[in-house]
């Protein structure tokens, strides 16, 4: 028994040695084309198949570079990535969060400057580049994917009740009332998971209330007060949603909301473009509405959020191969592969982007026409301290809907919280 085990081990060792030698010889005969495997880090565990297809296209063009997609679950990506980078075992190329979170990794020396990636300057517009740039204009990641926000609506319920498209926020509320009177749930959203009320409702409608990017910059420069009348109005709008949420909305989770809309019980649903795929198989017609602006607004806005960039590890062993990959993403070939395989609702950001096939994804893109776009309000400046603007928006939104805060109190709390660390709020 012992002897045979020994023999087995010896044989195994000999075999691995042989194959290893074999590989070496194959490599030596073609030294110029040494095959390289890159590891790609990501938080998109749902997209493993799609990214495999995209990266497969890349390897077709560059047969010597293989890329392995190695995602972590979204909620733990930032901390896992940091641990990996600190331990020197970070991926060669990785998804990068926009703004403060990404900048921090660049400042700590883990993200490389990507300004010399071939085609970087030509392939991306300035507004697309800026979310992954430091304050001094050093790009730490190439723009990769954006998401949009809007209101999903059930076309059949709208047809039945003779509804079309709400003109403004008050009109939208009257739509909600009509839908409620007809026995449907007007809005599918709930509070249980918290992030969704913040990211897909509050930040979805915010640009319309604060005046898009120009408005946002006025807050950051200290021209407008964080508890000013527009912010109070925004929290009032959040509070006005209360009667139209599902019964027991306090304990309705994001998945419950998806189910309420998908089963036709709810007529409208504030959400992001990434959910398009979830409703692919429902048995009714649906479409996308832009978030309504308050009555009398001169212009309308869409939250078109820079979601994922692609960064390069400063200590990668294969910098040239990583740069080849990064520049390919922006090229017409790469953008075509992304448009084809990226899950619907994630929009490639290269100027070379080809036409997207999915009709609902195009509906989202069409919302941008004639409207201003901006990223989610909290992202550019308000995440860099504690309590973060995100947390304050969340507590305020939940507070006004549940009635624990008045809109004025929510706005005051928003400003007071930011004032603890953010100078323009003082």
């Amino acid at each position: 028994m012992k002897k045979s085990l020994c023999l087995l081990i010896v044989l195994l060792l000999a075999f691995t040695n042989l194959t290893a030698n074999g590989n070496k010889e194959a490599g030596a005969s073609d030294a110029a084309n040494q095959s390289v495997e890159l590891i790609m880090g990501s938080w998109r565990t749902d997209d493993a198949e799609q990214m495999k297809a995209v990266l497969g296209e890349f390897t077709k063009k560059y047969p010597n570079i293989k890329v392995k997609f190695q995602p972590t679950i979204p909620a733990e990506y930032n901390s896992t990535l940091r641990l990996q980078l600190e331990g020197g075992i970070g991926p060669d190329v990785m998804y990068a969060r926009s703004f403060a979170t990404g900048i921090q990794l660049f400042n700590d020396g883990y993200f490389a400057d990507v300004s010399n990636v071939l085609g970087y300057n030509e392939n991306y517009s300035d507004s697309n580049k800026s979310p992954w740039m430091t304050k001094d204009g050093v790009p730490f990641a190439i723009p990769f994917a954006a998401v949009s926000h809007g209101i999903y609506y059930n076309k059949e319920i709208f047809k039945e009740l003779g509804l079309t498209k709400p003109k403004n926020w008050d009109d939208f509320l009257s739509y909600c009332q009509k839908i409620k009177d007809a026995g449907y749930i007007p809005l599918a959203n709930g509070l249980a998971d918290e992030w969704d009320i913040t990211e897909v409702v509050f930040m979805n409608i915010a640009p319309n209330f604060i005046g898009g990017m120009e408005g946002r910059l006025a807050y950051d420069s200290g021209k407008k007060k964080f508890n000013g009348p527009e912010v109070v109005k925004l929290f009032e709008a959040m509070a006005s949603l209360k009667p139209y949420l599902p019964s027991g909305y306090e304990a309705i989770s994001y998945n419950d909301s998806n189910a309420l809309f998908a089963t036709g019980q709810a007529a409208m649903y504030f959400d992001g473009s990434w959910t398009i795929g979830t409703f692919a198989d429902v048995d009714f017609e649906w479409g996308i509405l832009p978030p309504p602006a308050p009555a009398g607004s001169k212009s309308e806005y869409i939250t078109f959020h820079a979601d994922a960039g692609m960064a390069m590890n400063t200590s990668t062993k294969h910098p040239n191969e990583v740069k080849t990959l990064l520049s390919w993403f922006g090229s017409s070939d790469g953008a075509a592969a992304l448009a084809k395989y990226l899950p619907t609702g994630f929009f490639p950001m290269s100027e070379n982007s080809v036409v997207i096939q999915d009709s609902h994804a195009n509906e989202f893109l069409n919302l941008n026409k004639g409207r201003g776009t901006d990223v989610r309000w909290a992202w550019p400046e308000l995440l860099a301290g504690e309590p973060s603007g995100y947390t304050l928006m969340q507590e305020g939104s939940i507070g006004v809907i549940t009635g624990y805060l008045t809109p004025q109190e929510a706005a005051d709390q928003f400003r007071a919280g930011l004032a603890e660390w953010y100078t323009p709020a003082k």
Partner: protein, 308 residues
Amino acid sequence: MGNSINKNRSFRWFIYILPALAIYTLFMAFPILNSIKLSFFTESGSEGSSFVGFNNYIKLFTHPETSARYWSAFRNTWVFFAVHMLVQNILGIIFANFLSNKLLKGSGFYRTIIFLPATLSILVTGYIWKLILNPQWGAVNLFLKSIGLGKFAIAWLGDPNIALIIISLVSSWQWVGMPTMMFLAGLNNIPDDLYEAAEIAGATDFQVFWNIKLPLLKPVIGIIAILTFVNNFNAFDVVFSMANVNGAPMFSTDILGTFFYRVGIAGQHPVGIPDRGLGAAVATITFILLSIGVAYIMRITKSDKGEV
């Protein structure tokens, strides 16, 4: 010569505890000491960690946001613990009392039912209970509506006043089998002649329970109190599966476990950069609290004779 053999023998016991000692040191003592050490350091990226003295502790108790969250989690953990002591452990002792009745038919069946939830993952039971309590299609509210009590069909996990109690009750339901089994074992250890003597003296069932069973179960009560205390102050998963890591709604179900997770492991969404030093400070304080608590419970529930 005989002497040296004796000497060898007297140290031989050491060899037997060596494996346990090694595992304990490597996987228990070392991480605890390391985490205490970490609580005096800060970690900020490429600069590596630097010694900051008691700054993490000072931040934990003086930074308004952080300390408010810490004390709210601290309070909630005590509520969580109180519900377990009152519901889980008292039900445990009642169940054990019934199950130890030799006249009870099918006690094996009841024992299995009571113990069954403890064998399931809390992530599974938490999720199932979340579905049962769902305000739209949960069984509880559908039932209440069908018997005409629709006004009581509320969002059980959405009301900050009751969400924590509900979650504690689910956790008690899950683990009630543990104290039941331990009390049952304790009851089976009580010599029969005591019961016979009580019967001859004409004691009622309640008198038997109060004057014989309960005093003799004191050491078991102590062990169960310690286990409940330690488990509750380290709990995380039931809140994670039934609410979220923020302790929704409005931090009302935020316990020390979820607070520690947010601070030390995952970081606050969406930035998600943890402060490990601060997290270690939270863990260290919990560790000290547990040590004191365990010592205290052991003291007050020590059997008078010093044995079970």
